[in-house]
C-alpha cells in the first residue's frame, strides 16, 4: 500500500511539532525517519495513526485521501503501529492484548479466547515467533513484548506498518531478528516506516531515509551515507561519534561484590550469586539482554532492593542492609534506568530536582530551611555546565525532552563527592548530540579516579565506554571480558554461551 503525507502540520500551543511535512512511502519499501529527540517524528506518526488530529495537511493511502477520526479508522484503513512506548496492557495475556479492540466473541459478548489464541499462534508461526498466548504480558521480556506488538499490528492485516523506535530496548540479536522480520514484511508488499536513533540499523535496512529537524523535513539521505553525514544532517552540525578515552589509570579495588543474590517480590532469584570488583578509575560495563538481572543488580548497589543476600563493600564499608540514604552518603552516584519514574520529580523545577537527594543538610539545607539562593546559584551553574536546553532553572523537569531530563539527573549525581558512580542505560532514547555529551562526562568521571559501572543493552555504548565488560545472563555472570572484545563474542555471551578460553576470570 502506498502511503503519502501531504503538508502535515501539528501544533502544540505555540510549538509547531510538525511543519508542513511531506512524505511518500512506496509499497514494499522500508522508509527510515531520522531526527533528534523532539524533532517531531512520533508526532507525525501519531497523526498518521489517528491519535492526533492534524491542524493542516492530508493523508493519502493508495492515493485516496483519508479522514481519520481515531486509531480505529486508521486501523481499518490498514495502518498498524508499533509504538515507541509499548501499547500493551501489562496485566492482560498476550491473546487478550492481541484481541483487544476487535474481540472474537461467542454469544452474549462472551470472549472467544480459543479463536484469539489460534490467531496468535498462527501469526507467530508465520514469523517464527515463539509466543505463549496465555502468558501475562508484564512477565515477558521486552523483546517478546515487542513481538506481541507486531503480532497485534499484523492480526489486523496492516499494510502500512510504523515502527517507532522499536530497537531502543532490544539486544543486537533481537534487533537483527526484527530487521529480518521487517524485510520479510516488506517482501510481502507492506510499506514500512521505521524510526530509530541508531544509524547502523538505518543503513542496514532502509530503502530511503528522510531526516526531520525541528518539525521540518530537512532532506533525504541515501542508505549509503556515512554515520557522520547522517548525524550532522540530524543535528545540524558535525557530531563526534566515538568517545576519546585514554588507558585507565587503575586505582584500588574500591567496590567488591561477593556472592550477591537479589530476590524479587515474587520469590524469583533475579541476581544469582554474583561476585566481581571494580577498581577506581575504570569503567565496568554490564552488558546483557534486558531483564537478565542488570537492573536489579544496580538497584541492589543503591539499596533499592529489599531482598538481598551476599555482600557489597565500598572502600571497605558494607553496603548491604543500609538504607538508600546511608548508601548515597557513602558517595554512590546513581543514574536510574527509568529517569521519569525513579530519577526525577516531573512537577519539580530543574533546580529542585538538582537538590533532590541532598535535601537533608549542607549545602542546600540549613536549619531545616532550604537555602534558595545557594540552590539557584548552583542550579544556574549546572544548567550552563550541562547545557540543559530549557527556558530556565524554574522549568518543571517534566516538560523537558528525554535527553535534557537525563542531563539533569547526571548533573545532580555528578556534582556530589563520589566514591562510586552507577549509571543504568544512561543514553536510552537520547539523541546523538546528547549521547556524545553524556559519554564524555562518564569518561571524565572515570578519569578522576572513581570506579564507574555502566549498564547498557547497547553494544555500541558498551564498547565505547568499557574498560572491562561483564555480561549477564539469567541473573548470573557469563563472563568478564576486556573492553575491546568483539561484538559477535559479546552477542554470544549475551545469549548465555561461555566464550571459549575466557572464563569468569578478570
Amino acid at each position: 500500500m502506498k502511503l503519502e503525507l501531504r503538508g502535515i502540520t501539528k501544533r502544540f500551543g505555540s510549538l509547531v511539532a510538525n511543519d508542513h511535512i511531506d512524505l511518500v512511502v512506496e509499497p514494499g519499501e522500508i522508509h527510515c525517519l531520522l531526527g533528534e529527540n523532539g524533532a517531531g517524528k512520533s508526532t507525525l506518526m501519531n497523526v498518521l495513526y489517528g491519535l492526533y488530529t492534524a491542524d493542516d495537511g492530508i493523508i493519502l493511502l493508495d492515493d485516496h485521501p483519508q479522514d481519520f477520526r481515531g486509531p480505529g479508522d486508521a486501523m481499518r484503513a490498514g495502518i498498524g503501529m508499533v509504538h515507541q512506548h509499548f501499547m500493551l496492557v501489562p496485566v492482560f495475556t498476550v491473546a487478550e492484548n492481541v484481541m483487544l479492540g476487535h474481540e472474537p466473541t461467542k454469544g452474549g459478548g462472551m470472549l472467544d479466547l480459543k479463536t484469539a489464541r489460534e490467531r496468535v499462534r498462527e501469526i507467530s508461526a508465520r514469523f517464527g515467533f515463539d509466543v505463549d498466548p496465555d502468558a501475562i504480558v508484564e512477565d515477558l521480556p521486552v523483546g517478546v513484548q515487542q513481538r506481541v506488538e507486531i503480532i497485534k499490528a499484523l492480526s489486523r492485516d496492516a499494510r502500512v506498518l510504523v515502527f517507532d523506535e522499536p530497537t531502543a530496548v532490544l539486544t543486537p540479536q533481537e534487533t537483527d531478528e526484527l530487521m529480518a522480520i521487517m524485510r520479510q514484511l516488506k517482501e510481502s508488499g507492506s510499506s514500512i516506516v521505521f524510526i530509530t536513533h541508531k544509524l547502523r540499523e538505518v543503513r542496514e535496512v532502509a530503502d530511503r531515509i528522510t531526516v526531520i529537524r525541528l518539525g521540518k523535513v530537512v532532506g533525504e539521505a541515501s542508505p549509503t551515507a556515512s554515520n557522520a553525514e547522517l548525524a550532522s544532517m540530524m543535528v545540524g552540525r558535525a557530531v563526534e561519534l566515538t568517545v576519546h578515552k585514554d588507558a585507565p589509570k587503575l586505582g584500588d579495588e574500591d567496590l567488591v561484590v561477593e556472592n550477591l543474590s537479589v530476590i524479587d517480590p515474587l520469590g524469583q532469584i533475579v541476581v544469582n550469586d554474583v561476585s566481581f570488583s571494580v577498581r577506581g578509575g575504570e569503567v565496568l560495563a554490564i552488558a546483557g539482554v534486558q531483564g537478565n538481572g542488570q537492573t536489579e543488580l544496580t538497584e541492589a548497589l543503591i539499596g533499592m532492593q529489599p531482598q538481598v543476600r551476599g555482600s557489597i563493600t565500598l572502600g571497605g564499608e558494607q553496603l548491604v542492609g543500609r538504607s538508600i540514604r546511608r548508601i548515597l552518603d557513602e558517595g554512590v552516584g546513581f543514574v536510574p534506568e527509568d529517569r521519569k519514574v525513579d530519577g526525577l520529580v516531573g512537577e519539580f523545577s530543574i533546580a529542585e530536582n538538582l537538590m533532590l537527594d541532598r535535601a537533608n543538610g549542607a549545602p542546600f539545607v540549613k536549619g531545616g530551611t532550604v537555602q534558595r539562593r545557594q540552590l539557584d546559584e548552583f542550579a544556574r551553574e549546572k544548567f550552563a555546565e550541562f547545557d540543559v536546553r530549557a527556558p530556565g532553572i524554574d522549568t518543571p523537569v517534566g516538560r523537558l525532552s528525554g535527553g535534557n531530563q537525563q542531563k539533569v539527573v547526571l548533573a545532580r549525581e555528578l556534582s556530589r563527592d563520589l566514591a562510586l558512580f552507577v549509571a543504568a542505560q544512561p543514553t536510552r532514547g537520547v539523541d546523538v548530540g546528547s549521547i556524545e555529551f553524556i559519554h564524555k562526562r562518564i569518561v571524565e568521571t572515570r578519569d578522576s579516579g572513581i570506579p564507574v559501572i555502566v549498564v547498557s543493552t547497547e553494544l555500541d555504548e558498551v564498547s565505547a565506554l568499557a574498560d572491562r565488560i561483564m555480561v549477564m545472563y539469567r541473573g548470573r555472570i557469563v563472563g568478564i571480558v576486556p573492553g575491546d572484545t568483539p561484538r559477535d563474542v559479546l552477542g554470544l555471551m549475551m545469549a548465555g554461551e561461555h566464550p571459549d578460553g575466557e572464563g569468569v576470570a578478570a
Binding site: V89, G108, M110, G128, V131, D132, K152, Q268, I269
Partner: protein, 427 residues
Amino acid sequence: MSATVQTSTDAVLPETTIIRSWKTPIALLIFTALFAILLLAAPRPGGETTFRLATGTDLFQVADLVAPVTATAWTCLVLSLVLAGVSAYFVRTFGRSPLWVVIVYIVVLVVGFLTWAAAGGTVPVAGLLAGSLGLAVPLIYGALAGVIGERAGVVNIAIEGQLLAGAFTAALVASITGAPIAGLIAAAVAGMLVAAVLAAFSIKYLVDQVIVGVVLNVLVAGLTSFLFSQVLQPNKATLNTPPRFDRIPIPLLSDIPVIGPVFFRQTLIVYLMYIAVVLVWIGMFKTRWGLRLRAVGEHPQAADTVGIKVNATRFWNVLLAGALAGIGGTVFTIGNGIAFNKEMTAGAGFIALAAVIFGQWDPIKATLAALLFGFASNLQNTLSVIGSPVPSEFMLMLPYLVTIFVVAGVVGKSRAPAADGVPYIKG
C-alpha cells in the same frame, strides 16, 4: 532468507526462591493470645451457650446446638493455635499462607468468642447471619459500583452520594406510586444522574475525580436534606411513606436449614444483588465489555490505539456503576419500608469504598469484604443483646477495629488498576 529465529518465552525466566511473609501467622498468634488472656482473665465456668440454628418459620427445624462454655472455648483456643501453626507451616514451605486458613481461623475464633461471651445465653445464628447480610447489601452494591468505576479508571468517591440519592428517590417515587419497583427504577436513575455529573466533570472537564467525588457527596447530602425539609416533610403522608418490598421465599432453596432463610427469604433487592455480583464478575473477566473496561482502566492509551473510545467507555461504565449504587440506596428506604431521613446512609458509601480497596478491585472479593464488615457490625449487635461484659461503645467500635486489623494485618498493600484516577487526555 531465514526469519525463523526462536525465542523461547520461558528461556529467561529466572530461578525462584521463597520469600516468607510472617505477617499472617504472627497476626493469628496475637489474636489467639488475646483470646487466651480473655479466657484466663474472665473465665465463665459451668455455663452453656445455645446456638439456635433454626428460625421459628423454618420448614425443617434443626435442633439447637448446646455448647459447654469452658470446654468449647478452650477447644477453639487450641484449634486457633493449631491454625496459627498451620499458617506458619505454609509460610515456611510455600512462603505465604493461603486465604482459607485465615477464613477457618476467623470462624473458629468467632465461635469460641461467642461461646464465651454468650455464656448462659442463646446465640441466634440465623439472625446473626441474616443481619450481616442485611447490613452488607448496600455495601455490596456500593462496592460493585466502586469496582466497576475504578476498573475503568474513574475513582468513585461519590458512592455515598449515589446511595443517598437512591434512598431519597426510592422513598419519594415509591411513596407517590405506591409501587416499590418504581422506586427501585427511579433510584437507579438517580444514582446514574449523580454518576453522570461525576463522569462529566472528571472525564469531560478533567476535574480531579477525588474532588468531584467528595464534593458530590456534600452536594447530594445538601440537596436531599434541603428537599427533605422543604418538600418531603410537609407532605409526609404522600411523599415520604414508602411501601416496602415483600420478602419472596424461593421455593426449595429457602427451606435449606440455616442458610435457606438467611439467603433465600429475601427481597427483590437482595436477589438482584446476587445476580449483580455474578454478572459483574463474569462480565468483567469473561466478556468483551469487561476486557475493554479493564483495558481503559489499566492502559487507556493502549486501548485508544486499538480503536476503543476510552472516554466513552469510561463514561458509560461510570453511569452503570451509578445505577448499581442507586439501587443499593433503596435498601435504606423501600428495602425496609422506612421513611427517608437526612443523611440516612451514614457513611455506608465510605465503607463500600473501603471494601473496594480491601477486596482488591475484584467484585467477588469486594463482596466478601462487605460481608465481613456486615458480620462484624452485626456481631457487635448480637453480643450487646446477649449482654456482653464490654461497654456498648466498645462493641460499636468492633466492626471498625476489625476492618483496621484486617486491612493492616492480613491484606496490606494491594494494586489498583494502573490508570485509576488518571484522566485520559487525547493529543
